[in-house]
C-alpha cells in the first residue's frame, strides 16, 4: 500500500456519538483536564481508515476544517452533502466557505504555501489525450505557478508514469501506463475524483437538424460544418444559425488564446493539420496523409489547393511558421513542449521533428491552427482579425454582443457522399449570453437556435419536449475534492482514502446535478474509452472506494 496509509494499529476507545454531544464532551474534558476527547467509534471501513490516520498523525477528533468552493455554483451544494457525510463519522467538524471565482483561484494556488487548512472542490477540464488529465494536476513539476498541482503532491512513481506515458507512442503500452498511473493516484488519493461532467447541447428541433454535441466544449461549433468529421447541420427556413457563447471573447490569436469562448468562436475559422472527430478519432484536415519516418520524425503531405480567407495558398512554409510563431507567446508550451524543428521538403511536404518521442503528437496538432503568412510577417493582427483556412470567415465581433461568421466559398472540401461541398448554413451568429437561465429563455423564445449551456435542471423537460433536440455526451471535465496534503491529518493517505470512500457520488450526481454527469473514481474521463472504460472504473471503485 502506498504512502503512509498503514499507521499504528492502536485502537482507540470506542463510542459513537452525534456531533453535538462530542462538542459538549470536548468542553467537559477540557475542564477535567485528563479525559481524552478522541473517542470516536469507527463503525465502517472508511471510518477505520480515518481512525488509523488520526492515530498515525496524532490528531484528536473532531478535526476542524473548511471546505472552500466557488460562490453560487452547484459546488456549494456538493460541499453541503460532503460536510454532512464527513461530520456523521464524528471525526470532522466542517465549515463551508464560498468565494468569488478569482478569490477562490487565488486561495487555491497559494493554499499550500500558506498552509491553509481547507479542502477545495474544483473542476478541471481535460482534452483528447490522457496526459491532459494528470500532468498539470499531479506532476511534481506542476506546483503553482507552473501548473495546478495546488496541494503540492509529489510522488516519484506518479512522475515517472506521467513522463513515460507522455513519451510512449505505442497505444497499448500507453493505455497500460495510464491505467497503472490512475490506480496509483486512487490508492494514494491526493485528491478524490467526484464526478465526470457532460456536454449538453439543446437546439430548436423545428429549425435545426443534424446537430451533434462535440464532446469538448471548445469544439461546440464543429457541429455546424466539419466535413473531416463527417458532420454538418441543416437549417429549416433560414440561412443563419444563431448560437450562444458563455462569455466574451478575449482574443482571437491562437498563440495567446486561453478561454473557452474564444476557442469556440474561432473553431470554424482555423484549421490544423489534423482534426479529432466526434468519436475521438484523429482525422486528416490540412494534412491529407502522414507517416512516421523514425521515432521522432514525421512526414506530412499537405492537401493541395487550400486557400486562406485572405487569398494566400497553403504551403509547407505556413506549417513551419505557424508552429514557430508560438515562441515567446503565452501559449508557447503548446508547441514547444514537443516541437523540435521542421524541414520543408517541397511546397506540399514537410518533415516535423519532435524533441522527444511524444505520445500525444497527432492529437496536439489539432490544437495548433495554421495561420497565413500575413500574420507571421506582422501585416495582420490575429488578435482582432482571425484568418485561417476553415469553412467560415470571421466577419466581426461586437464586444459583449455577438460574433459573426460567414461561409467561406473557396473552402477546400469538394463534397462526399455524406457531406455536401457547400455548407448549408450561410452565416453563423454567436450571441454572448452569460446567464444560463437567459440562455434557456433565448432558446425558448426562438432568439437563438442552439445552446450548449442551459441549466442542468431544465434538461429533463427539454428532452421530453418534441420541439427541442437534446444531445448529451460525457465530456472532458471532472470535479474533484483536493485534500491539504501538507497538513495533518490529511498528510495521512489513510485519512484521505477514508474520506474518498465516504463521498456520496451517486447522490451528488442525482441531487445536485439532476442526473447530468456520472460518478468519477479515476481522473481520466471515460471519453477516452481505452484509458477509462467501465470495467476499469468498476474495478478501481470496488477495490479502493466502495465499502464492502
Amino acid at each position: 500500500m502506498p504512502g503512509n496509509s498503514v499507521g499504528s494499529r492502536e485502537r482507540r476507545p470506542i463510542r459513537r456519538r452525534s456531533l453535538l454531544t462530542s462538542v459538549g464532551l470536548v468542553g467537559i474534558s477540557g475542564f477535567a483536564g485528563c479525559i481524552r476527547s478522541n473517542s470516536v467509534e469507527a463503525d465502517g471501513p472508511a471510518e477505520e481508515l480515518i481512525q488509523q490516520g488520526f492515530a498515525a498523525t496524532d490528531t484528536d477528533p473532531p478535526f476542524e476544517t473548511t471546505i472552500v468552493v466557488t460562490e453560487g455554483t452547484e459546488r456549494s451544494r456538493v460541499a453541503t452533502l460532503l460536510k454532512s457525510e464527513l461530520e456523521d463519522t464524528g471525526f470532522f467538524e466542517i465549515s463551508i466557505e464560498e468565494y468569488k471565482w478569482t478569490t477562490h483561484l487565488d486561495l487555491l494556488t497559494t493554499a499550500a504555501d500558506e498552509n491553509k487548512n481547507a479542502l477545495f472542490i474544483v473542476s478541471w477540464t481535460g482534452g483528447w489525450d490522457p496526459d491532459d488529465y494528470v500532468n498539470m494536476l499531479f506532476h511534481s513539476d506542476s506546483h503553482p505557478p507552473n501548473g495546478l498541482n495546488v496541494n503540492q503532491y509529489a510522488d516519484e512513481t506518479v512522475d515517472e508514469y506521467i513522463e513515460t506515458g507522455l513519451e510512449e507512442t505505442v497505444f497499448d503500452e500507453r493505455v497500460e501506463i495510464y491505467r497503472q498511473l490512475q490506480e496509483r493516484l486512487v490508492a494514494d488519493a491526493p485528491v478524490s475524483f467526484v464526478r465526470f461532467g457532460e456536454v449538453t447541447h439543446v437546439w430548436d428541433a423545428d429549425a435545426v437538424s443534424g446537430w451533434q454535441a462535440y464532446p469538448l466544449e471548445t469544439g461546440a461549433y464543429n457541429a455546424v460544418y466539419a466535413p473531416w468529421a463527417d458532420t454538418f447541420t441543416k437549417l429549416e427556413g433560414s440561412t443563419e444559425l444563431v448560437g450562444d457563447l458563455g462569455s466574451d471573447i478575449s482574443t482571437t490569436d491562437p498563440a495567446s488564446m486561453n478561454d473557452t469562448a474564444s476557442s469556440q468562436a474561432t473553431q470554424l475559422v482555423y484549421e490544423g493539420l489534423t482534426g479529432i472527430d466526434f468519436d475521438g478519432t484523429v482525422q486528416p484536415v490540412l494534412a491529407d496523409e502522414w507517416k512516421r519516418l523514425d521515432t521522432t520524425r514525421y512526414r506530412f503531405s499537405l492537401r493541395e489547393g487550400v486557400q486562406f480567407h485572405n487569398g494566400e495558398e497553403l504551403t509547407a512554409a505556413h506549417i513551419k511558421c505557424s508552429f514557430e510563431r508560438y515562441e515567446g507567446e503565452p501559449r508557447e508550451a503548446d508547441v514547444f513542449d514537443w516541437y523540435g524543428d521542421s524541414e520543408i521538403v517541397d511546397d506540399y511536404t514537410i518533415d516535423i521533428d519532435c524533441r522527444r518521442e511524444y505520445g500525444p503528437f497527432e492529437r496536439r496538432l489539432f490544437d495548433v491552427p495554421i495561420v497565413p503568412m500575413a500574420a507571421i510577417d506582422g501585416d495582420l493582427d490575429l488578435e482582432s482579425t482571425p484568418i485561417g483556412t476553415g469553412p467560415y470567415r470571421f466577419v466581426d465581433y461586437q464586444a459583449g454582443n455577438d460574433c459573426r461568421l460567414e461561409r467561406f466559398d473557396e473552402y477546400w472540401f469538394e463534397g462526399s457522399e455524406t457531406v455536401p461541398a457547400t455548407a448549408p448554413v450561410e452565416t453563423v451568429r454567436l450571441e454572448v449570453i452569460t446567464e444560463p437561465a437567459s440562455r434557456q429563455g433565448a432558446l425558448e423564445a426562438g432568439n437563438i437556435d442552439v445552446s450548449y449551456g442551459v441549466p442542468s435542471a431544465s434538461l429533463a423537460d427539454l428532452t421530453a419536449d418534441d420541439a427541442y433536440g437534446v444531445d448529451r455526451h460525457v465530456g472532458g471535465g471532472f470535479d474533484m475534492l483536493i485534500y491539504p496534503l501538507y497538513r495533518e491529518p490529511f498528510s495521512s493517505a489513510a485519512v484521505r482514502r477514508g474520506c474518498n470512500m465516504l463521498l456520496p457520488r451517486e447522490r451528488i450526481v442525482e441531487e445536485v446535478y439532476n442526473g447530468v454527469g456520472q460518478p468519477a473514481y479515476t481522473p481520466i474521463s471515460p471519453l477516452l474509452e481505452a484509458y477509462a472504460d467501465e470495467e476499469f472504473q468498476e474495478r478501481i471503485a470496488d477495490e479502493y472506494v466502495r465499502s464492502p
Binding site: 501548473g147 515567446g328 508550451a333 503548446d334 493582427d381 488578435e383 464586444a399 449570453i433 423564445a445 426562438g446
Partner: protein
C-alpha cells in the same frame, strides 16, 4: 462666487480625488495574489525569457509606483494603453461599452424619477388614504425584490411566454426602435428599486414640509392647493431627493452588473467583472476612473440643482 467659478473649482478639486481613487485601486489590485501573466498563460509553464518579455511589454516588471505614474502620464494625454489579456486598445474597449451603459442607466434613472416623484407627492398629500397605503406596499415590494429575480421573471413572462420582447438584445443599433423596445424590461428591472426609494424619500420629506408654517401662510392667503404643493412644498422637499437621486444616477450607471448579465447587455459592469477576473489592469483602471468621474459629475450636478431649487444656496 458665481456658479461658473464654483463649477470650475469643483472640477479642479475632483482631480486629486480621482488620483486618489485610482491610486488606491491600483495598489489594492496589485496587492491581490495572482497577476495577468497567470491568466495569460493559464498556469502552463512558459520559459522565463517569454515571461520576462511579456512582463516588459506591459511594464509589469516595474515597481508598482512606477507603473502607476506611467499610467497617469498616459491618461493625461488620454492614452489608456493596450490590454495585456486581449491585446485590444483599452479606450476603444471601454468606449464601445460606455454608450450601452449610459443608455440603460439613464433610462432606469428617468423611470425612477417618472414613477417615484408623482407617487411620492400623491402619497404625501393623501397621507393615510388608500393611495398612500398602496404606494407604501408597492414601494416595499419594489425595494425588497432582488433585481435578478425581477429580471428573470419579467423575461420569463414577456420574453418567453408572451413573446412580446426579445430575450437577448436585437441585432440593431443602440438608437433604434427595436433596441428601445428591448430595453423596456432591463430598464424596469434596474429602475424599480430606485423608484420605490424615491417615492418613500419624497413622501417623508414632503410630510415634514406640509406641517411647516409657510404652508399654512400660503394656504391662508388663498393660494390654490395645487400651487401650494407643487410650487412651495415640492420645491423644498426635493432637496434630499436630489442628493439621493444624484448618487443613484452614478450607481445605476456603475452597478448594473446583475441586470447586464440577465439581459445579456453589453455594458461596463460585465466588462469590469471580466477584467477583474483576468487581472486586466489597464481595463480595470480605466473603468474605475470612469466610475470616479461619473460620481464626481453626479455630485456636481446635484450641487447645481441645489442652487436652482433653493435660492439661499449660493456658492
Amino acid at each position: 462666487m458665481s456658479l461658473g467659478r464654483y463649477v470650475l473649482t469643483r472640477i479642479s478639486v475632483a482631480v486629486p480625488v480621482l488620483l486618489g481613487v485610482t491610486a488606491l485601486t491600483f495598489s489594492f489590485i496589485h496587492a491581490l495574489p495572482g497577476d495577468p501573466i497567470d491568466a495569460l498563460v493559464g498556469f502552463r509553464s512558459v520559459s522565463p525569457a517569454t515571461e520576462a518579455s511579456i512582463r516588459a511589454e506591459y511594464h509589469l516588471d516595474r515597481p508598482i509606483w512606477e507603473q502607476y505614474l506611467l499610467w497617469v502620464r498616459n491618461v493625461l494625454v488620454l492614452e489608456f494603453g493596450e490590454s495585456p489579456i486581449t491585446g485590444r486598445n483599452v479606450a476603444a474597449t471601454v468606449g464601445r461599452r460606455l454608450p450601452a451603459t449610459l443608455a440603460l442607466g439613464g433610462a432606469a434613472w428617468l423611470l425612477a424619477l417618472a414613477i417615484g416623484v408623482p407617487t411620492g407627492i400623491v402619497a404625501a398629500v393623501r397621507r393615510g388614504g388608500p393611495a398612500d397605503e398602496l404606494s407604501r406596499l408597492a414601494a416595499l415590494a419594489g425595494i425588497a425584490t432582488p433585481n435578478f429575480w425581477l429580471g428573470l421573471v419579467l423575461l420569463l413572462i414577456f420574453g418567453v411566454r408572451l413573446g412580446w420582447v426579445r430575450v437577448i438584445p436585437p441585432d440593431a443599433p443602440l438608437a433604434s426602435l427595436a433596441m428601445a423596445k428591448f430595453m423596456l424590461l432591463p430598464t424596469i428591472t434596474l429602475g424599480t428599486a430606485s423608484a420605490a426609494f424615491v417615492t418613500r424619500l419624497l413622501r417623508s420629506s414632503m410630510l415634514a414640509e406640509l406641517d411647516a408654517a409657510y404652508v399654512r401662510t400660503a394656504r391662508a392667503k388663498g393660494l390654490r392647493e395645487r400651487t401650494v404643493i407643487l410650487k412651495h412644498v415640492l420645491r423644498n422637499a426635493l432637496l434630499p431627493v436630489v442628493t439621493i437621486t444624484g448618487l443613484q444616477l452614478a450607481f445605476l450607471i456603475d452597478g448594473a452588473v446583475v441586470v447586464e448579465r440577465i439581459f445579456s447587455w453589453p455594458g461596463m459592469g460585465r466588462l469590469l467583472v471580466r477584467s477583474i477576473l483576468q487581472r486586466d489592469y489597464p481595463v480595470i483602471q480605466a473603468g474605475v476612473l470612469l466610475i470616479g468621474v461619473s460620481i464626481v459629475l453626479a455630485n456636481l450636478l446635484v450641487d447645481i440643482v441645489y442652487a436652482v431649487l433653493d435660492p439661499r444656496i449660493r456658492y
